[in-house]
């Protein structure tokens, strides 16, 4: 059933979904806001690179500057008034939000009546969506751990000294692409899918497609080894292990190629220690494994790549 705009409106206007709907606008807005400033700064950088004499005398910011101006201003009042204003604006927004929309309250908790779909809070729906593609021990435990550790490792593997404290795209293309792919596509978009697309039975319902609680999906999910006609469990286990190992090698090599694609990235690569390179390579390979697994599942209907008696990948 298509064209069900009413249901789409109900999903989008559910009070608890307001934040992710807001993020659908806020993230693009702030990315545009960043990009606008990055373009301006990159213009200045190009100008200064072309004119070494100017680079020596220029104040090196895109903001106006004249000889004799103070480089610093008093916190009181110039910063405090901005903070005060921000607090007032946030309070007003919060009050309006709290007056117009009520916090949801469902029926009393009932273990015998399963909610369908049973959804986590909106900010964890990316992880819940990951459950489709990976077993819980990966999606629920390993992946969150890798995300947290990976984020914390960023400053220690990013050996690019440029772009410290100003917006630029030109000087940090690799870092920015990596982060934005993770932030926008592997986190925000996954949350949006979990919020807007997923319906009863965690089925895929396009926007305006009516949620059908009786829909049966005959998904023929196969394990990779059956595609190759392997049915012996021992051989399948070894085969899966080899495939996963092969993925790490091939993906790792691809990451290496991207990291050494031009003279600037090669320069940065040279500054990194072996430990830094291996850590970065491993984290990126693990990060790419998510879209790879999504593609395997959605396009080729493959459930597991590696089946063993103890765990499945």
């Amino acid at each position: 059933m298509w064209g069900d705009w009413h249901q789409l409106w109900e999903i989008m206007s559910t009070p608890d979904n307001v934040p992710i709907v807001a993020m659908l606008f806020l993230v693009p807005f702030y990315l545009w806001y960043w990009h606008r400033q990055a373009v301006a700064t990159d213009g200045l950088i190009t100008q200064l690179e072309a004119d070494p004499a100017l680079a020596k005398t220029h104040h090196r910011k895109v903001f106006p500057w004249k000889q004799g101006w103070d480089r610093e201003v008093h916190t009181w009042p110039y910063l405090m008034r901005v903070e005060f204003l921000a607090a007032i604006i946030i309070t007003v927004i919060l009050m309006i939000w709290a007056i117009t929309l009520n916090a949801p309250l469902e029926e009393p908790a009932n273990p015998n009546l399963t909610m369908n779909p049973a959804k986590a809070p909106w900010y964890f729906l990316g992880l819940q969506e990951m459950l489709v593609y990976f077993d819980p021990w990966i999606a629920g435990v390993i992946m969150p751990t890798i995300i947290i550790v990976g984020l914390m490792v960023i400053p220690y593997i990013d050996e690019n000294p440029l772009g410290n404290g100003y917006y630029t795209y030109k000087q940090r293309k690799f870092a920015i692409w990596t982060y934005l792919i993770g932030y926008v596509f592997l986190w925000m978009v996954m949350i949006a899918i979990g919020t807007i697309i997923r319906g009863p039975g965690w089925g895929w319902f396009w926007p305006t497609q009516t949620w059908d609680h009786n829909r049966l999906v005959f998904e023929v999910n196969r394990d990779l080894h059956t595609l190759f006609g392997i049915h012996n469990r021992l051989i399948a286990g070894i085969f899966g292990g080899v495939v996963v190992l092969l993925y790490f090698v091939v993906a790792g090599y691809c990451v290496h190629l991207i990291c050494t694609a031009n003279s600037f990235t090669r320069k940065i690569y040279k500054r990194m220690s072996l430990f830094q390179i291996v850590t970065m390579n491993l984290l990126l390979v693990l990060m790419i494994s998510l879209p790879v697994k999504i593609a395997l599942r959605l396009l080729l209907r493959i459930k597991y790549v590696w089946v063993t008696p103890w765990f499945n990948v």
């Binding site: 993230v27 090196r60 916190t75 908790a109 984020l151 400053p155 410290n164």
Partner: protein, 314 residues
């Protein structure tokens, strides 16, 4: 002895006249003092009470401006002076400060809610109904708490985005970025533990789905790789520790309540203290900094020197 009568030239005065004279003098004194007091009330900053609280005069001199920040316990998180371009909204997006402000709002509304809430299976849900229908502004209070929590997650994520895009995690701020990541995780956990507290279907199933993942923890969960081999069952694994039982029930409610209202806010406060302190010790906020050119990259040899500049000195 006429002098004994008080120097009135020997003229005897009555008690009444004496009192009248005193009263007149007193009236004059009171009027003068009142006039003087009124004068000080017009300038309250000159009173002793005011000066005992705010030790700095509030005039438009650089010294007073600096001291008004440095001598105030709530303002002294700030340096006396900041980078002239750092007050622009376009650089900071204001997200870190707003996140902290929302934490304060949440603490305030949260404490108010605690006055009306019992973390027990019998009463929790009824307390929410009570808040909605009987407590003056109870519904508004709960709404504000919930939406501020959602908003805090949004601002925390946007803050992360800003810090990454401005390269602010780079030297010397690497460690503060890590503290920030922990704070972000704590924000999510704060929100998640609060989700169960209304004890309704929404919270119950969200927490059931969430904690079911803990079953699959490698080695520590009874359905995770290596778990059964290590003797994990539903009654001794990590999920049992989180819920205080094998299902989401009374113990889970109490545990969520303690984590939500006491433990995580305390831990988060400590990390926040470190986070803000390190912002200052790492030289204030990172920019907007002068751009650096590719030709200016220095070859690095050996470990970098540790730079600890007192904030405010550049």
């Amino acid at each position: 002895m006429p002098e004994e009568n008080g120097g009135n030239g020997g003229k005897k005065t009555g008690l009444l006249d004496k009192i009248q004279g005193d009263a007149k003098a007193l009236k004059q004194v009171v009027q003068d003092k009142a006039k003087a007091d009124l004068q000080t009330y017009k300038e309250p900053e000159k009173t002793q009470v005011f000066r005992s609280i705010f030790r700095v005069s509030h005039d438009d001199t650089p010294r007073s401006r600096a001291l008004s920040v440095l001598t105030n316990v709530f303002f002294h998180l700030h340096p006396a002076k900041v980078n002239r371009d750092a007050v622009r909204y376009s650089f900071t997006w204001g997200m870190g400060g707003i996140t902290f402000y929302l934490f304060i709002v949440l603490t305030f509304t949260g404490v108010m809610l605690m006055f009306y809430y019992h973390p027990t299976k019998v009463q929790a849900y009824r307390d929410i109904l009570y808040l909605h229908h009987d407590v003056p502004f109870g519904q508004l209070l709960r709404n504000m708490h919930r939406w501020a929590a959602h908003m805090m997650i949004m601002t925390v994520w946007l803050h992360t985005l800003r810090v990454f895009l401005s390269g602010s995690y780079k030297k010397p701020r690497e460690f503060n970025w890590c503290v920030g990541v922990i704070l972000m995780v704590l924000t999510l956990l704060l929100s998640f533990t609060g989700y169960l507290l209304p004890d309704d279907q929404l919270g119950f199933w969200a927490v059931t789905v969430g904690t079911n993942m803990a079953r699959a923890t490698p080695l520590l969960g009874h359905e995770g790789p290596g778990g059964p081999q290590l003797g994990m069952t539903p009654f001794n694994d990590v999920r049992f520790a989180l819920l205080g039982g094998s299902i989401v029930d009374a113990n889970a409610l109490l545990r969520a309540y303690i984590w939500h209202c006491i433990a995580i806010p305390l831990i988060a406060s400590i990390f926040m203290g470190v986070h803000f302190w390190r912002v200052r010790k790492d030289g204030g906020i990172s920019g907007p900094a002068p751009v650096m050119l590719e030709s200016e990259i220095k070859e690095e040899k050996g470990p970098r020197p540790v730079i600890m500049k007192p904030s405010g000195i550049r």
